[in-house]
Symmetry: C2
Subunit: 212 residues, 2 copies
């Protein structure tokens, strides 16, 4: 299994969204050019990215949309559901526990943990919430390799260390904390703070100009 | 108000997180070098980024942490609370409506909208939920310029068009949809799908090698 470049991986879901949309509109076939126009990526790049999925289009005809969807989903491993667990059952944690999209994208949350003892033993969206005391025992017993981190920033590092100590190889980090972990741990940050920083500043700049 | 480069804006929240952490640990002063080590950004870059905030450190002594926090927060306009509204009261929408962090980062959700008539008139986390029929009237009356988009991908474009038609200048887009909007609209995407694509594939590559 060859490593796919980071930027290709980040673009593949955009192509998928376009393909889902073409499919909903009743289309059967699609060209790389059409995907390029729709996603605002250059068509040479689209062709190159799609080549990593192994599908080959027919010249002047393009790709069967269904085939291309399956090829990209396979490439992202979204058709092969992985179990994961979540630590931090706050607002964001609950949102992810209820997020149907995760199932479609190959991720199933099989257990949740929270430091609040009042939550221990309760269920949310059918997923049992455990106390942090059970963490070590349960995670190693379940052989889960992926952890979702939705705790407050100030405890993020500590919980991430605990995850790694119990065999986790990949962390989906929703906290603004920078995690310092061994190089072989896969960390993906969903950085809402950076995104909000850009948004807030750009709005301030714009309104400042308008006020003159 | 000068435009700050995109990558600087994206790094400033990371420096802030480090500064909050130093402050919690009881420190009063910090050097750019220390921030660099903690955030894994080169110290030349840290110095350059901090220069945009207008603060000047004392040679060999560094910055007062409190001053630097305020300067970065001001720079990101996080001390000046902007009103915004949210469309799509699903799991993610609710998470954002309950997210205390948003207040600290200058964003206050003052109204929410959802296509589900059963939600119209109800409240969540103290925020009233309105039907989409009230959208045009309410948004233009409230003079809100920022919209949060947490609807399903298939209606994202339509709702974004409606936002823009009613005077919105900035959209915080949590859907995987690519929005096609006029060039002067500020769009910030929190792209969970791209992030999950990278995570899923990297885990698959790793486990494949280990099984290999």
């Amino acid at each position: 299994m060859d490593a796919i470049p980071l930027l290709t991986l980040k673009r593949l879901p955009k192509y998928l969204e376009a393909l889902y949309r073409f499919k909903r509109a009743g289309l059967k076939m699609v060209s790389a050019t059409k995907i390029a126009v729709f996603t605002d990526v250059h068509m040479t790049q689209v062709r190159k990215d799609l080549s990593y999925t192994g599908v080959v289009g027919v010249p002047k005809v393009g790709h069967k949309i269904d085939h291309l969807i399956t090829a990209i989903e396979d490439c992202l491993n979204w058709n092969d559901v992985s179990s994961c667990f979540l630590v931090g059952v706050g607002h964001l944690g609950k949102a992810l526990m209820g997020f149907q999209e995760l199932h479609k994208k190959g991720l199933r949350i099989i257990a949740a943990f929270d430091a609040n003892p009042a939550l221990a033993g309760t269920y949310y969206q059918g997923i049992q919430i455990h106390s942090m005391e059970k963490f070590t025992n349960l995670i190693s017993r379940l052989h889960v390799h992926i952890g979702i981190l939705t705790v407050p920033a100030e405890v993020a590092q500590e919980v991430a260390d605990q995850m790694v100590a119990n065999g986790v190889i990949a962390i989906w980090n929703f906290t603004p904390a920078k995690l310092n972990l061994p190089d072989d741990i896969i960390i993906e940050n969903v950085d809402m703070s950076s995104s909000l920083a850009v948004l807030s500043r750009r709005v301030a700049e714009r309104l400042h100009v308008e006020k003159g």
